[in-house]
Subunit: 336 residues, 2 copies
C-alpha cells in the first residue's frame, strides 16, 4: 500500500534505523546520506505511519479535551485557547463532545485510555464518585476546567475567579448609586459561587440580598433564557423597587430583558441590567449589555500550560489557578 520506512531504506541503500534517525533529526548522520534519504522520501511519497510511531514511542502526543456542549460557543473559545498552546508544543487535541451527558464523559475517558492519550482537560457537569474512580484508573494526567473538582481528588483546576468577579461587578453597580440590586442565580455549581459572593457583598455593604433562583434544568440556551425571564418576573413581583439586576450569565440577562420588554420597562432607564460571560451578540445595540468578561481563551491556554507542566514533569502537583476577570461596561447600566 503506502511506502514504509524500509522501502525508503532499501531505495537509497541504507538501513531503516538510519531513515528513522533522519526523520527524527539526529545529528550523527552525514549530510550526504540525509539528502539521499530526503530525496527517497520525496520520490516514494513516504509519510510516516503515526500509529506505528505512537506504539513504539510510548506517547501519542494526543490530548483529550471535553466540550460539554458543542453548540455553546463559550466552550469552543476556551478550546481554541488550549489548542493553540498545545499545538505549539507538538500535541494534537482530540475533542470529545459530551452533550451534557455523564455517560458520554465516562466513555470518552475509556477511549482516552485505549488511545493512550498523554493528557486530558475535562469540564464535567458534575463530579461523581464514578468519574473520580475512572480518572484514578486510567492513569492519565488530567486538568479540570471550569468545574471545581473535590479537594481530595487532587485534580488540578483552572477557572476564573468568579467570587472576586462578582464582587467587582457589585462594587461597580454600587458605585453607580444602586442599593436595591437583585441577582438572578444560575442553577449550577458556578452559580452557587456567584450567589455566595453576591450575598457576602450584600452583607458587607448592609444591603438586602435579593437573589432569585429558578430551578428549571438550564442545559440549553433557550431554557437558560426562559429561566432569566421567569426570574425577572419574580423579582418585579417580590421586590418592585429594584433598580438594578445582576444576572449570573448573559443568557439569563437576555431572558430578563425579554421580560422587562414585555412588561413595558426600558433598559437602562427603568432598570439597569448586567450579565456575565460576554456572549458575542450581547454587544448589539438592542442589548448593549454590561457584562463580566471571563477571558475564555486565556483559561484554555492556562489549563493547557498546566497540563504540559504535569506531562513533562516540570510540576507534579500544581496549584489551582483562578484567573482574573474584567467588567465590560456598556449601556445597559446607568447611574441611579
Amino acid at each position: 500500500m503506502s511506502a514504509t520506512i524500509r522501502d525508503v531504506a532499501k531505495f537509497c541503500g541504507v538501513s531503516a534505523s538510519t531513515v528513522s534517525r533522519v526523520l527524527n533529526g539526529y545529528t550523527d548522520i552525514s549530510e550526504e546520506t540525509a539528502a539521499r534519504v530526503y530525496a527517497a522520501i520525496e520520490k516514494l511519497d513516504f509519510v510516516p505511519n503515526n500509529t506505528a510511531r505512537m506504539l513504539s514511542k510510548k506517547n501519542t502526543r494526543l490530548i483529550g479535551l471535553t466540550i460539554p456542549d458543542i453548540k455553546d460557543p463559550f466552550f469552543s473559545e476556551n478550546a481554541a485557547g488550549a489548542e493553540k498552546l498545545l499545538q505549539e508544543n507538538g500535541y494534537q487535541i482530540f475533542y470529545g463532545n459530551m452533550e451534557r451527558s455523564s455517560e458520554k464523559l465516562l466513555s470518552f475517558l475509556q477511549q482516552a485510555r485505549q488511545m493512550r492519550f498523554d493528557g486530558l482537560i475535562i469540564t464535567p457537569d458534575e463530579w461523581t464518585e464514578e468519574l473520580l474512580n475512572t480518572l484514578q484508573r486510567i492513569h492519565i494526567p488530567v486538568v479540570a476546567l471550569r468545574r471545581r473538582p473535590p479537594q481530595s481528588s487532587g485534580v488540578p483546576f483552572v477557572d476564573n475567579d468568579h467570587y472576586r468577579g462578582v464582587m467587582e461587578m457589585m462594587t461597580y453597580l454600587s458605585d453607580l448609586g444602586h442599593t436595591k440590586i437583585a441577582h438572578i442565580v444560575l442553577p449550577t455549581g458556578i452559580g452557587e459561587i456567584r450567589r455566595e459572593a453576591y450575598r457576602d457583598y450584600c452583607r458587607i455593604r448592609g444591603i438586602e440580598a435579593r437573589d432569585v433562583k429558578i430551578d428549571l434544568p438550564a442545559n440549553k440556551l433557550d431554557q437558560a433564557r426562559e429561566n432569566g425571564y421567569r426570574a425577572m418576573q419574580r423579582i418585579l413581583a417580590d421586590y418592585p423597587d429594584t433598580t438594578a439586576v445582576f444576572a449570573a450569565t448573559d443568557q439569563l440577562a437576555i431572558g430578563a430583558m425579554v421580560y422587562l420588554r414585555e412588561a413595558g420597562l426600558s433598559v437602562p432607564r427603568d432598570m439597569s441590567v448586567a450579565g456575565a460571560n460576554d456572549m458575542e451578540y450581547t454587544s448589539l445595540p438592542w442589548f448593549d449589555l454590561t457584562t463580566l468578561s471571563l477571558n475564555r481563551a486565556e483559561m484554555g491556554r492556562a489549563a493547557a500550560q498546566m497540563l504540559l507542566d504535569i506531562i513533562e514533569n516540570r510540576q507534579t502537583h500544581p496549584e489551582n489557578l483562578l484567573l482574573g476577570t474584567s467588567i465590560i461596561v456598556r449601556g445597559s447600566t446607568i447611574k441611579k
Copy 2:
C-alpha cells in the same frame, strides 16, 4: 506499565491469540475459556492499546472533520449530526479547527495522512489547486460539506439546495405583496449561488434586481454584521423605495437591522427583513427574524452517511446531495 494482552494470556494460561479472539468476539472459543479471560482482564485492569490495534488492523476507525471556525455555532451543529451517525458505526471523529486558514487545512490533511484516518469530511473555504493535489495524494476517502468542489475533482458533496431555498424565500416575500425586494450578498461561493438564484427570480418575475455586495472580508461574525450594516445603508441610498430585504445570512440581516434602527426605521413596519441560516438568537423578540433554515444536523449526518458508504465500499462514486431547506416565518416580514 499497563498490562498487555500477553500478560492476560499468561495470567490465565492461554495464548495471546486466544485473548485477542475473545476480545474480538470470535465464536470458536469455549465459554469457559472466555470467562477465564474476562476475569483476567478485569483482575489485571487490562485495556487494549488502540495504537497497536490500529497498526495491525489496517484501519483506525478515525474520521477527520474540519471545522472552519470553532467560534461559529453553525459548524458545530453539523459536526454534531455527523458525529452521532459515525459513533453509531464505531468511528471516532477527530476534529480539526481551521480558523479560516488554508494552511491549517493542508497541515490537517497531512496529519490525517500520518494518522491514517479512514475518512475525511471537509469544509474548505476555497478549493485551491494545492488542496486538490493534496487530497489526491493522501488516498483517504473524502466528502465535501457546504463548499462545492470543482466538478472535475470527483469529490462528492453535500449541501443545502441554496438555489431552491432562495427561490422559495423570494416567492414567500412576493406572495406577501413585495415587489421591491433588495438582496444583501454574502461575499463567498455560497453567496454567489444565492445571488444567482435571486437574480434569476427577479428576471422570471420581471422585477428589478437590487443586489448589493459589500466586499469587506467577512470571516468574522462582527465583520459580517458590518457588511450587512453598510449594505443596508447603500440599499436605502440607491433604492429608497425598497420594502423588503433578503439578506444572505442572519448575520448580514442583523447588521442591516442595526442600520435600520439607527436610521430610525422600524422592522417590519417600514421594512421587512429576512435572513438565512437560522442563528440561534435571531428568534429573540428584538429581531424575530424570518429566516431560511438549513437543517444543519441533517447535513452532517448525510455527509457522514455518504462517507461511510464509500469507506465500506457500498458506493464508490456517490451522487452529490442537495438537501431541502425550509422557511421559518417570524415577525420581521409582513404584508406590503
